[in-house]
């Protein structure tokens, strides 16, 4: 047994430590100088627990005492849409309803393009793609902040991470939309859904549509993203242009690109990028909920929503909702 193996055996105990039996035990003092807090606060969305309330929360010991003081969070302003305007991700044309042969278009891309805006955080593509659909279905401007709150509350969205593929239609369900989840879908499936007036969200490999002109000889400083990761990205499919039968174009509302409103991707490129998610598709018809039901109602989980659409939350300081 070599020394390295022994190190691995010790690793587990060092890493996690036991779960504290007594929640009243004082929390460990980390080297960065702050006491451990129960993880009930993310980005200010939840109210912070007072020390008294903390004592009643199940507590676990910290994983390690690594000093992260040298790490500085960077300014996230570079991710804001206004700062993205000078960049270019996509070099494909944008759908132009005035010059398009509408007889050859499936779907209603002109109308759907009106709902496009760029995602305001790096990981909210699935939320914003659902927002585009809700804006159309509900007939009002649902905000990204509102959906972020709902999805974070429900555990469908991880700040700084994103949305698991299987949760990509949950917000639509939350608003009582009829939602179908399918894999191994085809262009014909997209066409059929669009012809029926349904809204579509797909997950695809953004590298394959954002780095359109890149090749293996380009240096990394000319590349968007991280080569080899093949991460997926949610976009809304708003139409298909069949005017060139030999090379149909899929029309997208891509919330991750400043040029993403009505961007037209060649079908073969789109299919390659889509393959990475097993051709995953979320499709949605009309909502069963009226605009008047956005506020002042209980959802299926018993959460009350105020008339501005925000859910009520438990206040750890007061002990009241």
């Amino acid at each position: 047994m070599n020394e390295l193996f022994d190190q691995f055996d010790e690793f587990e105990d060092d890493l996690w430590g036991p779960i504290a039996d007594d929640a009243m035990e004082p929390v460990a003092d980390l080297s960065v100088g702050s006491a451990y807090q129960a993880p009930v606060e993310w980005n200010g969305i939840f109210t912070s627990p007072s020390e008294e309330n903390n004592a009643y929360l199940p507590d676990v010991e910290p994983m390690d005492q690594t000093d992260l003081s040298s790490i500085q969070s960077l300014d996230s302003g570079e991710l804001q849409p206004e700062n993205m305007a000078e960049s270019f991700f996509i070099e494909y044309p944008v759908f132009d309803p005035e010059n398009a042969d509408l007889e050859q278009i499936v779907g209603d891309p002109a109308q759907d393009m009106e709902n496009w805006h760029m995602q305001s955080t790096q990981s909210s593509c699935a939320l914003v793609s659902q927002e585009f659909i809700l804006d159309k279905v509900l007939g009002r401007d649902v905000t990204e902040e509102e959906l972020t709150s709902v999805a974070t509350d429900a555990g469908w969205y991880t700040p700084g991470g994103g949305t698991p593929m299987n949760e990509m239609g949950r917000i639509l369900e939350h608003f009582e939309c009829q939602v179908d989840y399918d894999i191994n879908c085809t262009m014909d499936d997209l066409s059929a859904k669009l012809e029926q007036g349904e809204s579509i969200l797909v997950a695809l490999d953004s590298d394959e549509i954002w780095n359109t002109g890149a090749d293996l000889d380009d240096i990394l400083s000319e590349y968007f993203g991280m080569p080899g990761q093949d991460a997926n990205h949610a976009v809304q499919v708003i139409g298909i242009d069949y005017s060139d039968q030999g090379s149909p174009k899929v029309i997208l509302n891509d919330p991750g690109s400043p040029d993403g409103s009505g961007v037209m991707i060649p079908a073969d490129k789109f299919m390659d990028a889509w393959e990475d998610s097993n051709h995953f598709m979320v499709s949605s018809g009309a909502s069963q909920v009226s605009d008047q039901m956005i506020g002042n109602y209980y959802d299926r989980y018993g959460t009350w929503y105020y008339d501005d659409g925000t859910p009520e939350r438990y206040n750890w300081d007061t002990g009241y909702y």
Binding site: F11, Q37, M63, A126, G228
Partner: protein, 197 residues
Amino acid sequence: MSHLSEQTQEIHSNRSTQQSVRRTSGLLERLRKTPWFQQLIPAEAGIGWPIPLRRNGKVYIRIPFFGFSPTSEKGKTALFPPFALVTLDWASLVPVEYVNLQFRNPWPDVEWGKPVGHFPHESVASLAVGEYKAKRKELLELYNELFDKLSQGSDFSEEWNHRFSTALNILMEPSLEPYYRTLGKKFFDHYLPSKTR
């Protein structure tokens, strides 16, 4: 078109090929199509460098997941702290543990929604995309060797350790390194000794 539940059946039919799949650098890409990934891990997430674990005679592979996003500049991708850690049995690739790090909260001072660094880092910034992919593939294949050696109880030669350490040193993102070090302190102290705090 097939309904999502049918995917499970497809995954089972692919089990027989897992032995060969995990021998290649395609392992991490393959993870994205597993049901547990699609259930638990954000689709936008980056797959981090694996961390080996040996416990009760069995070998496990721990995989951290982190957020990343292109910014306003080409060649400047924002990196976010790892938010989840999944442990798989190396022999079967069956998941045995999932940890939501935002819940477990090992870094109380971290603001999860704020970037902590950028990619590419200095040691790879001048590489061509193809060169980077080749180095990444080489490191993942070295990882495969590492896990196989652990499974077989083989020793690691000095030369092999040097190769692995060199490859990891080049590709490890400096801004994420402290987080990796928390998740696998002894492993990364062993192979990234020059950066040991």
